[in-house]
């Protein structure tokens, strides 16, 4: 049963990491790139307004960081809970 409790705690921790990551995923693409673009049109990155830049380039950079950060965090969680391969 100890194994089961540990894997439940592991799963809960995983869900927590996924939830935080999904919030960032949504915020950088749908949030900054689409929904908030009109409100943030005064802020510029170089020659583009913030929302435009996120929609055409910025969101992709955030996605990249997000996946590698998730992979690293999960490797750490795997070890902490003793479920690594």
């Amino acid at each position: 049963m100890a194994d089961k409790t540990s894997s439940n705690a592991y799963w809960a921790a995983n869900i927590r990491v996924i939830t935080i990551s999904m919030v960032i995923w949504f915020a950088c693409s749908f949030g900054l790139g689409i929904l908030l673009r009109p409100a943030l049109s005064g802020i510029h990155i170089g020659g583009a307004d913030l929302g435009f830049w996120f929609a055409q380039n910025g969101a992709i950079y955030v996605f990249l960081v997000l996946i590698f950060a998730y992979a690293a965090k999960m490797n750490k969680l795997d070890k902490e809970h003793g479920v690594e391969e």
Partner: protein, 651 residues
């Protein structure tokens, strides 16, 4: 050496490379045929996934879509990359832990039902076959353009090439071929992009050029501001203009994202890595390689758009477009720097006519009344010219005269002019004279517009073919494994031998190539519509059923089957309502216009709604049926932890 010989040499060399790799890495077992023996490292798999994913549409068409759609078409950039976050976080590691070969196999085991597996096979086949048609068309068009053969011949050559390496190589051969194809396509895409960015913005990196300043006029104006100014002056909407329908843009982006994560040919690539942690990392590497093209694409599109516009309005380089006369016919015929205009006119991707006979080609956007009047006049003229010799021509001639009068009135109305207070007639214009500018020209003609050497043009040809072939091969593998592994071994003939199954997989793939070629010769509707269906269906069927299979312990086989069917039927019916039943033109029951869409939701945006219906129905049906048995509960617990299956099932 002429351009044609150079194209032949570069394309021939790239094919020789693919064949060599496929022969070296040919599959000798079903594990190698379906999943490359699960021995592909995360970086290599990431590169293969990127080639698998980036199709002819990404390589040839996307920059042009963005160039002319501007901010609105950012949906492709976010949608086709954001899906990898979903894959890495929600699907890939758990499906790799499951450790088998196909998507329907997971559905069948998790939902303890051969029926569920077969419904998944149907969804997979509909998605992959519709998608592969678009790729075969892309192969045919690319061959036709660069090897100067007919589209049909091009399609047949392409099929033969895929056949040669995919049928023998299986997943193992395809994986390493895709790595080579990725290298070819990314070099072909970025070289012209770097040069055009240097020319227009002085920035070596196209990503910085996009937000940099416009160099040819002295660098005091931002590149995007310059582009906006030039295109709005000519009556187009601004490149950075905001969307007119935020809800639709939101839903299309969501549909492309969850559709990406639900595409079977992408998911099966994650079955090839050795470990669960590699599956997570591999999704990240895939996105690195995809981002190399996707962050460059908006720069390529916007810069090529400005380049084409300034070619036709030389005054726009330093001042406003209308500050100097438009490009002259004489310059197009004699100036070697403009020879690309006639080169591409031959292919039909570009067309111009001097409507007002002033010896100049004026390129601008006709306002709707002028464009409508021009269309009406063309239709009236066509009716007149097609009338039978003995028919009474008087009413037809009257129609033409009436249409001509309507056009003259529209041209004389200052409200339809380009400059405040002046009508098109005042400016001596009779209409837009650059009558065709195909989206694809933004990438295909880019090296010539930027005056790059012939070998770069040949490389772009090889890159376009690499993009189309690599995606076609991945799709064909997904189709053949669903038939040989899920249909034949899983249901029809479970006692088939390993050797027999491998042979069945190869025959299924050969059959799939023949089917795809046949459909590609006579595609039902436009490639873009077909692709919209593929993404919508993947979003509404495969993605939800996999999510529920991993993240819920309560969803039952009845729930999963009902959910998939509701997603499949609702999404296809919504698309068919507007685009015609099975894409047959003229059978649509509602016009495909924003006004006729439910809540303004376009057919391409329906995927997330179908997914919600799938989730909802699955949960309701599951709450009314008997909970999944103990061994399925154990399976769910086992796929949730990376550690070996045996240990996880012990408790």
């Amino acid at each position: 050496m002429d351009q044609f010989t150079l194209n032949l040499l570069v394309i021939g060399a790239s094919f020789a490379l693919y064949f060599g790799i496929a022969f070296w890495a040919r599959a000798s077992s079903t594990a190698e045929f379906y999943a490359a023996g699960q021995g592909v490292g995360p970086v290599v798999n990431g590169m293969a996934t990127a080639a698998d994913w980036m199709s002819a549409a990404s390589f040839i068409s996307m920059a042009g879509l963005i160039a002319f759609g501007g901010y609105n078409n950012s949906v492709f950039l976010m949608g086709w990359t954001g899906g990898y976050v979903l894959l890495a976080l929600l699907l890939a590691p758990y499906l790799r832990k499951f450790g088998k070969f196909t998507v329907p196999e997971f559905v069948g085991d998790r939902f303890y039902s051969t029926s569920a597996r077969m419904v998944a096979v149907v969804c997979l086949l509909v998605i992959s076959i519709t998608y592969v048609i678009g790729q075969m068309v892309g192969v045919g068009v690319t061959f036709a353009r660069f090897l100067e053969v007919s589209t049909t011949t091009g399609l047949l050559i392409g099929s033969a090439v895929v056949f040669a390496y995919a049928v023998f190589g299986g997943m193992k051969g395809i994986t390493y071929t895709q790595v080579a194809q990725y290298v070819v396509l990314i070099i072909a895409y970025t070289i012209p992009a770097v040069f055009i960015s240097l020319q227009l913005t002085g920035n070596f990196l196209p990503q910085l050029g996009l937000i940099g300043s416009y160099a040819p006029s002295g660098g005091d104006v931002a590149f995007l501001d310059k582009l906006d100014q030039v295109v709005t002056e000519l009556g187009f909407s601004a490149y950075t203009a905001d969307t007119s329908n935020m809800l639709n843009m939101f839903l299309v982006t969501m549909s492309l994202m969850i559709g990406t994560a639900g595409l079977p040919h992408v998911i099966i690539r994650f079955f090839t890595v050795p470990k669960v942690s590699d599956a997570r990392l591999s999704a990240g590497w895939a996105l690195v390689f995809i981002a190399l093209l996707y962050t460059v694409a908006p720069a390529v599109g916007s810069m090529a758009r400005l380049n084409i516009t300034t070619t036709f309005w030389p005054g726009a380089v330093t001042g406003t477009a209308l500050s100097a006369p438009a490009v002259s016919l004489e310059a197009i015929q004699t100036n070697p720097e403009l020879s690309w205009v006639n080169n591409w006119q031959k292919t039909g991707l570009l067309a111009y006519t001097d409507k007002n006979g002033d010896g100049l080609i004026q390129y601008f956007n006709e306002k709707k009344p002028v464009a409508d009047a021009n269309t009406a006049l063309a239709a009236a003229n066509k009716a007149l010219s097609e009338a039978a010799a003995d028919a009474d021509k008087a009413p037809l001639e009257a129609k033409v005269a009436e249409a001509q009068a309507a056009l003259d009135a529209a041209l004389a109305d200052p409200a339809n002019g380009l400059v405040e207070g002046q009508s098109l007639t005042d400016m001596g214009l009779k209409g837009n004279e650059l009558t065709t500018v195909n989206n694809d020209i933004m990438v295909l003609a880019n090296p010539e517009i930027a005056k790059l050497p012939g070998w770069v043009i040949a490389l772009v040809a090889a890159g376009g073919l690499a993009a189309a072939l690599s995606t076609a091969a991945g799709l064909l593998l997904a189709i053949s494994s669903a038939i040989s592994h899920d249909l034949i071994k899983g249901a029809l003939k479970p006692d088939i031998s390993e050797k027999g199954e491998l042979l069945a997989a190869r025959i299924a793939m050969a059959f799939a190539i023949v089917l795809a070629t046949w459909l590609g010769l006579d595609p039902p509707g436009f490639a873009a519509q077909v692709v919209a269906l593929a993404f919508g269906l993947a979003a509404a069927t495969i993605f939800p059923v996999l999510m529920m299979g991993i993240f819920s312990t309560k969803v039952t086989k009845e729930g999963a089957i009902a959910g998939m069917l509701v997603g499949l039927i609702s999404t296809s019916v919504y698309i068919f309502l507007y685009l015609g039943w099975f894409f047959i033109p003229g059978t649509n029951m509602l016009p495909n216009t924003p006004a006729a869409h439910f809540f303004g939701i376009s057919p391409a945006a329906f995927g997330p709604i179908g997914a919600l219906l799938n989730f909802g129905v699955a949960y309701i049906v599951s709450s009314m049926t008997k909970a999944p048995p103990k061994d399925v509960q154990d399976l769910i617990q086992s796929i949730r932890v990376p550690k070996g299956a045996g240990a996880a099932q012990a408790h």
